[in-house]
Symmetry: C2
Subunit: 211 residues, 2 copies
């Protein structure tokens, strides 16, 4: 078996959100899909270790914010690499309560669902929800998981203010929290001290040099 085969499957990038006793919470997810059209149902798969999992089970509702290629990449980091148990993720991103659920508005669409069924697996719960509200938020193309891995990294490099021709081999700096690889044109050491990981928002100090 070659697990690399799994990387060929395609996904989107979503924020799955719900209420935690009246406080908005959520997490980044890539596994969400429409299952039936009439009634419209949608599934999401959420790790049981994730605070959002228990909150969805308690609340009985979840929202899916569909991220687009124009969504600020820090949204992914805010929701993906910190626990909503101790940190108010929604304080860091634009959101609105739509269809009675907290929805990230820096997104191209949202879908709100009432949980109608669950499937338990070893590490994840698959929640099947009947759609109670859904709308388009922008015409920007949805972000795929492949786009997140390949293009967002590239864009950071291209957006660096100064271009330096790639002549000398450069050290690579990897975020120890989220795995983001800094490949910008400015040498890592010359980045300002308040520079932070564009994906998870952690400070420059958590980056590690790799050969």
């Amino acid at each position: 078996m070659t697990p690399k085969a799994f990387h060929a499957m395609s996904y989107g990038v979503y924020i799955v959100s719900t209420w935690d006793n009246g406080r908005p919470t959520g997490c980044t997810a890539n596994c969400a899909a429409q299952i039936t059209s009439s009634p419209a149902t949608v599934m999401v798969s959420i790790n049981k270790d994730n605070h959002t999992n228990r909150c969805i089970a308690d609340c009985g509702y979840f929202a899916i914010s569909v991220l687009s290629e124009k969504t600020d990449p820090s949204v992914i980091g805010t929701f993906g690499f910190r626990s909503g148990k101790d940190f108010d993720k929604f304080s860091a991103v634009p959101y609105a309560v739509l269809g009675k659920l907290p929805v990230v508005t820096d997104a191209c669409a949202y879908i709100v669902c009432k949980v109608v069924k669950t499937m338990d697996t070893s590490t994840h719960t698959v929640f099947l929800g009947e759609v109670t509200d859904a709308d388009v938020l922008s015409d920007d193309p949805p972000m795929t998981y492949a786009y997140y891995h390949t293009v967002i990294k590239g864009k950071t490099a291209k957006n660096a203010p100064t271009y330096i021709a790639e002549e000398a081999p450069k050290d690579k700096y990897v975020c120890s929290v989220c795995g983001y690889v800094y490949e910008g044109a400015i040498p890592f050491a010359e980045l300002p001290e308040d520079w932070s990981c564009p994906v998870c928002g952690r400070p420059k100090s958590v980056f590690r040099k790799t050969p």
Copy 2:
């Protein structure tokens, strides 16, 4: 509720296959995803009206062939718009028995699973399978559902042997079986009589002119 919001979700394009009493059968699917990593499990959602659904339930195994951007688009049509009950779909495409299941080899990866759980919904069955075999078949980029809808249509036009500048407004011809829209450079009426739909393989005669 705006169902157009559902179109923002991202998917791949897959052939889900199994054995029908020793005969290979399968169908096109877009909803497949890895659910857990250890043990590795993968889910697929298959319409209950589909012959493949009953065959997976009977056989207890399914294979996912992950189509790539280079996969011949007629594979999608062969598996997507005909019933495997009456037609030997595998007679029309290159395949091999890998991990004991029939796999389409004009693909970039395959995953074979043993069904370990099912979730019943109004129209579809979600099969959760534990992976028993998986491998990469090519380095071609996986085909996304968005690519299928936008680029494959475009490619047909670009691949037309003669280019005619788009000056006069053109009639649109739509395949009445699969919905494929012919937008090639050659006027539809001038296509040879043995021309067939590049997606579902049906003859020119099933196309309908739309305003």
